[in-house]
Symmetry: C3
Subunit: 134 residues, 3 copies
């Protein structure tokens, strides 16, 4: 499969992973991957935000592997916290996760998420294979 670079056509391959009725768990196109990632579902309100962050980053590692990428190929991450008071706590988890890589660009803001038990969500953009891997 080839990409129609410079031809005026859309590069025709869009890779979708974990296709559901509402959303795909990740989508890749033309060398870039996009996804949002949450802690392990069902979300457990009894966990701290840092504990949810550990779950989330483990899921991110798996998601990145699924799409042929990896944390060392992250380009940008937006961290959404339900409570900015947890900023220092999740940074400890984050800093540990990126300690062995050159980290992506990053933003962080506070917002209420889809479930009261969901304390953190991240949007990730990464380098990904342009076409399916053998």
């Amino acid at each position: 499969m080839t990409l129609a670079i410079g031809s005026g056509n859309i590069a025709d391959f869009i890779g979708r992973f974990g296709i559901g009725k509402r959303a795909s768990s990740a989508v890749t196109h033309d060398g870039t991957g996009y996804f949002a990632v949450t802690p392990q579902a069902p979300y457990h309100a009894g966990l701290s935000t840092a504990e949810q962050a550990v779950q989330l980053l483990a899921k991110a590692d798996a998601r990145l592997a699924d799409i042929g990428s990896g944390k060392n190929k992250l380009l940008f991450v937006a961290i959404i916290l339900a409570d900015m008071g947890d900023y220092n706590a999740i940074n400890e988890v984050w800093d540990d996760w990126v300690a062995d890589i050159a980290p992506p660009a990053r933003a962080c803001f506070e917002a209420r998420l889809a479930s009261p038990a969901l304390k953190i969500e991240m949007i990730m953009i990464c380098a990904a294979p342009a076409t399916p891997q053998p």
Copy 2:
């Protein structure tokens, strides 16, 4: 028009649609399109969030067509709700909209928007033609 792939130069074509003084309504570059979309303006506070979502997705369909893309080429969508209490209501509208496609990756969070009458806004990233269509 060709893209300077691998040459060290910026691919020189950036497609801008609905260019205003403050923002363009959509921008495309190198096979990817970016835009934010709101309900029909002027925003009508008397409409429910679900009704605003219907308007917004109709505008998204038109916007996607304008830039040579389509909802089946969406890569990522961030849904911003002024009130997360409307999550289930807008999901019904969303699920209907994506029922006939493999849906994009998706995130949803709550945030106050630019106008009190504006109850929902979406940020969309899609596959788009790399160069102008004939």
Copy 3:
């Protein structure tokens, strides 16, 4: 350095700028750049949001230059305000900044940011050189 377009491999060059332990200040990949930008640090709570926006956009100009891009190559900007009541004030600063270019697509929402003194943050996506500049 060449990009493995259409080969099934990840284009291997990821450009990272201002690499820190927690994040890079900007990352480029395959002709696109990603970064978040804040006012001048340490943030000064005594400044108005508009004054912080002026600082932020000066930093954005420098960041864009660092990565071989420019404000005229911005594709999408998400503006995050700690208080949406400052919307009109920051639009004046924004409109002035984009007065001499065809502006990017744009979204704006309100969210609490990482520090109480931080009143505005922006996420920017831009066209950028695909490979390092000579």
